[in-house]
């Protein structure tokens, strides 16, 4: 920076003293000048690669194929031309000189990168894979054929295209990889873990534009203004146009809170107490929608008389086993009764069905148990646990619970503040229960809305880059499902999941073609089986112990994003080899030369493969609202960077070549894997396989051809209805239709995901001709519940779909999430298969009883209702019971007591509650923002937000360097002293609470300490999502 001296200034100005003689402008003599545009706006469209909103962008490129302009796409109904700061930095993302341009290799114990060719790298990687796989492959676990390797892992990537993720999952499973994970585990796995058992599907129930239809918006565990800025386009619209009210409940006053009608603080990690208080308030004040609750939830279902709740068992549910830290859920089951019914052949048979109470007052029905359970969550208890003053809590209760009225709807928007806790899944269960009581599920402006943080984390989850799953949520077989027959028996017979076996078969056809036949159980043993928890935390424990020897990383930066980062970093040093596909040289790819690491001591070989970014390749991206939008390549990748499908394709070709000629049965899945996406591989051909296509003519029961050989299937319904379903190969049934030809509303036919149609029936924001939304282009799922049991809308204000008596079908503004011609008064046939077993009011078609589950008899490891437990590290004893922490979580203890280890702190050493958060200027671990000048300028480094009161106690001034320590480590950062944090009174005791962003690391431009050096290695009881959001620290001035 050069300053202007007075001399310079005089010199410059002196030169123009003559200017005194020139006339000057004035307002009266305004110029009519026009100025030519200094660059093109651009007309190529794409989708932003950052958060999960899925904003459309317009791009201009120069002759070299480099981006010269980025701005919002006005035709995209999600953002209508608007963009936050990150999206506009696409211009820098694709042109930054720090982008990787060559394949780089780091030899064992070397201190430098060497440039290599792609051919060399692929052959070398294949050798490493083969050696490690062959040495660690396990055919049997006891008597069960498991065909897996625990020696190789895969991480990433939620910012990759759906088609990238699909080929990655196929690649990994063919090798027998079970340590298959990515960002979804650590961001929203608890969402799926809660919403799937409750509603039947694990995704955001509504969508971004639908926020405009809401009357009361509760943002809790999210800072949407910061992390999903475009959501505020729709929130602002709701507030301005329909007088909607915004409530923000958050440990600190955030950018979102700045726009709230009502902001209330609550201590991090106490969501269940807070929402439990709202549930109690709703029930005590009879604000629930009784007709909705009776018809659409399991409120009336009777529960086993053996069931006992935490009010009776000091915080535990019945069936707890202390030794195994787990529950036997036998006592949580529905009471059953036997009824007579006619099966499909017309024979009278006896079947058991859940027994229903006559009224909500029956003490053994779900509703009565719910009422009893949450009666302990009084406003006084909420205040003691959460630190939310009672009067403020009651204001929230009064406002939010007013949405139980049939002409009102309320939405809950949440993200990592909710999910990343040892009770993460049950936090979200609490949201779901509240929303069901208020009749806010399935309706416009309602929902439990999981705000997804990466551009394609929904797509990557759908493609099952998760250890426990297969594409389309079919579930990876476990060692408890030793054969095909026991595996397919897991699918419900009395819901749409009755088609699960067909969907699985079509997946195996897509992967193994004619090697997967009915006769060989669709090559069931070609895919690995899991015997335990292979999620991110156990994965790093395995790396730390040296049993996991080789790791692929596709667009993930665990060095910054992993909990107990010092522990996870040390784990990296035990790898034999690491393959990273990235845009930049991240902290992860360069872990061997991180500050404090001596490269000579690190044996790991690293292959760093330069990848194309989202704008430089073709494929689809699925936003939080499940809308699949197609992106066509716009820019040219830098140097020798390649798209991820190409990279995975070349790796698989090299691995296939390495195994060529093998007669070992364990190698059949690799050699028999269907792998032909063209050369170079085409994303469109991957899309065709995911969508599903006909291997032979697909016919109905009468022999009519539904889909000709080679054509794509129009919908997953084809798989369900075909007389010869084995003629279909389908990579992910829920995507059935996304690549099928469809009308864009103007008569133009194109692959559904490419559509840009603008029609919006009813003006509710569905935009059914824009791209394609899974499942079956339904935008608000469970929308049968938007109508009364009799099929009429709850109110004119909230109509979405309804029964058209004249046409005898469901109609409206969205695709019905229901059998399209099943009348509201249709009776269930208890002996029927699939949806035949459900009635015209069973709105939750993916649930075996057609009802949303207020009470979860299965699917939740720590109980059928959410119960408040303290975070692993907490400043107080649990107010509600002597059960201090979630009783089913696994507390890891590797190297406890050592400098680096699974250490746990206590309140006497670490008296301050800490949480982490994100900033709008950066994205996740910073791997796509901290390298960019504009984003780095706007938010250059690490800081810690502390209250004025804590600052005064510690003698800290704004801008001072401070040290924050936990049982896992110490970091230094700048103090931001703010009135947006206030000390809490928790159970009568003053408790300080602080927070800090977690984006930073030592690479890039915007650098700083990583908050995750402080966070604990402990996960949720259902999905092992790490508890990033509540832990104990101490603070001092440096």
């Amino acid at each position: 920076m050069k300053k202007v001296s007075r001399r310079d200034f005089l010199k410059a100005t002196g030169l123009v003293a003559g200017g005194l003689l020139l006339p000057t402008g004035s307002a009266a003599a305004a110029s009519a000048a026009t100025f030519p545009l200094h660059k093109r706006v651009g007309e190529a469209t794409s989708i932003c690669p950052y958060c999960g909103v899925g904003c459309g962008v317009l791009l201009a490129t120069n002759a070299e194929g480099h981006i010269i302009n980025t701005e919002g796409d006005p035709d995209n109904p999600i953002n209508r031309g608007t963009l936050c700061s990150k999206a506009q930095s696409i211009t820098q993302l694709t042109t930054d000189p720090k982008r990787l341009r060559k394949v780089l290799y780091r030899a064992p114990n070397s201190d430098k990168w060497e440039e290599k060719s792609w051919d060399w790298a692929m052959a070398e990687i294949a050798k490493r894979v083969k050696a490690t796989r062959d040495a660690t492959f396990r055919v049997k676990d006891g008597d069960v054929t498991v065909n897996r390797t625990e020696g190789i892992g895969w991480l990433g990537g939620a910012a990759n295209n759906t088609e990238d993720c699909y080929v990655a999952a196929k690649f990994a499973r063919a090798l027998g990889i079970v340590y298959l994970e990515h960002q979804a585990r650590i961001c929203h796995s608890s969402t799926v873990g809660a919403l799937a058992p409750t509603f039947g599907r694990g995704a955001m129930t509504n969508h971004w534009v639908d926020l405009k239809n809401s009357d009361v918006i509760l943002i809790m565990g999210s800072n949407a203004a910061e992390n999903h800025p475009i959501s505020f386009r729709w929130i602002t619209k709701a507030m301005e146009e329909r007088g909607a009210k915004l409530i923000v409940a958050d440990p600190r006053f955030t950018r979102s809170a700045s726009k709230a009608d009502l902001y209330v603080p609550f201590r991090s990690g106490t969501d269940i107490a807070f929402i439990g208080g709202l549930i109690n308030y709703t029930i005590q004040n009879k604000l629930y929608n009784e007709e909705y609750v009776k018809a659409y939830t399991n409120a009336l279902t009777l529960i086993s008389p053996d069931y006992k709740g935490p009010d009776e068992l000091d915080g535990l549910f019945s069936g707890y086993n202390q030794a195994s830290r787990s529950y036997n859920n036998a006592s949580w089951q529905y009471q059953k009764e036997t009824v007579k019914a006619k099966d499909a052949s017309g024979n009278e048979v006896e079947v058991t069905v859940p027994k229903q109470a006559a009224s909500l007052d029956d003490p053994q029905c779900v509703f009565a148990l719910l009422k009893k359970h949450f009666s302990r969550y009084t406003p006084e208890v909420v205040e003691r646990i959460c630190g939310t003053p009672k009067d403020q809590f009651l204001k929230v209760a009064e406002l939010y619970c007013s949405t139980g009225a049939p002409d009102k709807s309320g939405t809950i928007m949440y993200a990592m503040g909710t999910t990343q806790h040892t009770v993460g899944s049950q936090n979200i269960r609490a949201y779901a229960i509240l929303q069901l009581l208020l009749g806010n599920i399935g309706v416009p402006g309602g929902g439990v809305n999981a705000l997804r943080g990466e551009s394609n984390v929904q797509g990557s989850t759908d493609m099952a880059l998760l250890y426990h799953d297969l594409p389309g949520y079919l579930g990876l077989p476990t060692n408890k499902q030793p054969d095909y027959k026991t595996y397919i028996a897991k699918f419900d017979k009395t819901s749409y999941w009755s088609n699960g076996p067909r969907f699985f078969n079509s997946l195996m056809k897509a992967w193994f073609g004619d090697k997967a036949t009915k006769e060989n159980d669709y090559a069931f043993d070609y895919i690995p089986k899991r015997s335990g928890d292979y999620s991110v935390i156990p994965m790093f424990e395995a790396m730390y112990k040296g049993t996991l020897k080789g790791l692929f990383v596709m667009g993930q930066n665990p060095f910054v994003s992993g909990p107990n980062a010092r522990f996870e970093r040390k784990a990296f040093e035990n790898l034999d080899w690491l393959v990273v596909m990235e845009l930049f040289d991240t902290e992860t790819s360069s872990f061997w030369r991180a500050p404090g690491v001596d490269p000579k001591t690190v044996k790991t070989e690293v292959f760093l493969l330069p990848a194309a970014d989202a704008i430089e390749k073709t494929g689809s991206v699925v936003n939080s609202g499940r809308t699949i939008q197609w992106r066509t390549q716009v820019a040219t990748p830098p140097g020798e960077a390649k798209n991820d499908i190409w990279i995975i394709d070349r790796m698989m070709r090299a691995i296939k070549a390495a195994y060529q000629g093998s007669t070992d049965p364990k190698d059949r899945p690799i050699l028999d894997l269907v792998w032909d996406y063209g050369d170079p591989p085409q994303a469109e051909l991957v899309a065709r396989e995911i969508n599903g296509y006909a291997l032979e003519d697909v016919k109905d029961a009468n022999g009519n051809v539904l889909v000709a050989k080679g054509a794509v299937i129009p919908s997953f319904a084809t798989i369900a209805s075909a007389a010869n379903p084995d003629a279909i190969a389908c990579g992910s049934w829920i995507y059935g239709g996304y690549w099928a030809p469809a009308d864009d509303g103007t008569g133009t036919i194109m692959p559904a995901a490419k559509r840009r149609g603008q029609k919006d029936p009813g003006g509710v924001g569905t935009h059914p001709y824009w791209a394609w939304t899974w499942p079956a282009n339904r935008h608000t799922v469970y929308n049968r519940a938007s109508a009364r049991p009799d099929g009429k809308p709850w109110s004119e204000a909230k109509k979405l779909i309804w029964w058209d008596e004249a046409q005898k079908k469901w109609t409206g503004y969205d695709v019905p999430d229901f059998a399209p011609t099943k009348a509201p008064d249709a009776k269930a046939n208890p002996a029927g298969v699939g949806l035949a077993a459900q009635s015209g009011t069973d709105a939750f078609i993916m649930k075996a009883d057609g009802k949303a589950w207020l009470f979860a008899p299965s699917g939740m490891n720590e109980g059928p209702f959410p119960e408040h437990y303290e975070p692993l590290e907490s400043p107080i004893a649990n107010v509600l019971s002597k059960t201090q922490i979630n009783p089913v979580i696994k507390v890891f203890d590797t190297d406890r007591g050592k400098d680096v280890g699974d250490n746990v702190g206590t309140v006497d050493q670490f008296p301050i509650v800490c949480t982490t958060f994100r900033l709008t200027e950066h994205w996740q671990s910073g791997a796509m923002t901290r390298y960019l000048p504009w984003q780095s300028e706007a938010q250059p480094g690490m800081f810690v937000e502390i209250s004025k009161e804590l600052a005064a106690e510690k003698g800290i001034k704004n801008g001072d360097l401070i040290e924050v320590s936990s049982a896992r480590g110490k970091i230094r950062a700048v103090a931001m002293v703010t009135s947006r944090w206030k000390p809490y009174i928790i159970d009568g005791k003053k408790v300080h609470h602080i927070g800090m962003p977690w984006h930073f690391g030592w690479q890039g431009i915007a650098r700083g300490a990583s908050a995750n050096e402080l966070t604990p290695h402990v996960g949720d009881g259902n999905t092992t999502i790490p508890e990033y959001k509540a832990f104990l620290v101490d603070v001092k001035k440096v």
Partner: protein, 275 residues
């Protein structure tokens, strides 16, 4: 021609800095090296490469915490001192209502930087050999605006806190919004910029007093520029003495040019910043 204007509604702004980066993106302004000093605000000031930025202010009143955000840049005054003092007509009123800037015409005198009551225009050393400086500021994206496009910052604003349109209509809308906000509990809600300096081209709906946003409550046309326009300039046509007076004003101006508000980035340091 109907005068166009920009309305910034602070009650809708979420402080996302979309406008700040949109400005840099459209104009190709490089990112500078900044540092975290205990604030969300960065860069810390307007500069030759930062024509729009978001400022952050904590404000407490009657127990209600407000975190105020302001999308800040040139306000395009009707009585624009910068236009009046500009000797080369690089700064001009455009009939659309914006104060345009033509860099080629700018001689780097820096009068505008001294005359502006809001301290908006900044100088940069454009040519270190000759000492030639250039001013810069927000022009409401004059190339976009005069070609029927809306300014980049307005287009990008996620919650629609920035709007572009006919000034009279925006004033009416802003007044209605102020009433709406008052009814919603913002007792201090107010419109800023309707009358100030003959009426600003950038209007503000605020939920707290202007000072809470770092805005002058009562911005004044600078006496320096007033003297210039009424006294000095006519006199300037009398050749003798013009240079002397000009230099005298220069001296005053320069004395005021505290280095913290005349930021200059020398081209040779650009390379480091890119890295």
């Amino acid at each position: 021609m109907t005068r166009l204007a920009m309305l910034f509604d602070a009650s809708k702004c979420i402080g996302c800095k979309g406008c700040q980066v949109a400005c840099k993106q459209w104009w190709g302004l490089p990112g500078s090296e900044t540092e975290q000093t205990g604030s969300y605000e960065n860069p810390a000031d307007l500069g030759p490469n930062t024509w729009t930025r978001v400022t952050f202010h904590e404000y407490e009143e009657a127990g209600r915490t407000q975190w105020l955000f302001l999308a800040w840049g040139c306000v395009h005054c009707t009585q624009a001192a910068c236009v009046d003092v500009c000797p080369t007509a690089a700064l001009k009123h455009n009939e659309l209502g914006l104060v345009s800037f033509e860099r080629d015409l700018c001689n780097g005198c820096g009068y505008c930087t001294q005359a502006c009551p809001f301290g908006v225009p900044r100088l940069e050393m454009a040519n270190p050999l000759t000492g030639q400086a250039k001013a810069s500021k927000c022009t409401f994206c004059q190339d976009r605006a005069t070609n029927g496009l809306i300014p980049a910052c307005v287009k990008t604003c996620p919650p629609g806190a920035l709007e572009w349109g006919e000034r009279d209509a925006l004033i009416a809308k802003a007044k209605a919004r102020v009433e709406w906000l008052k009814a919603r509990g913002y007792a201090q809600a107010q419109l800023y910029g309707e009358k100030e300096l003959g009426g600003l081209g950038r209007l503000f709906v605020l939920t707290a007093p202007p000072e809470a946003y770092g805005l002058p409550a009562n911005p004044q046309y600078p006496t320096l520029a007033a003297g210039w326009q009424r006294g000095v300039q006519p006199f300037g046509y009398v050749a003798v003495g013009a240079t002397v007076l000009g230099l005298a004003i220069n001296w005053i101006a320069t004395r005021r040019a505290r280095l913290n508000n005349v930021e200059v980035i020398a081209p040779e340091s650009e390379g480091e910043k890119e890295g």
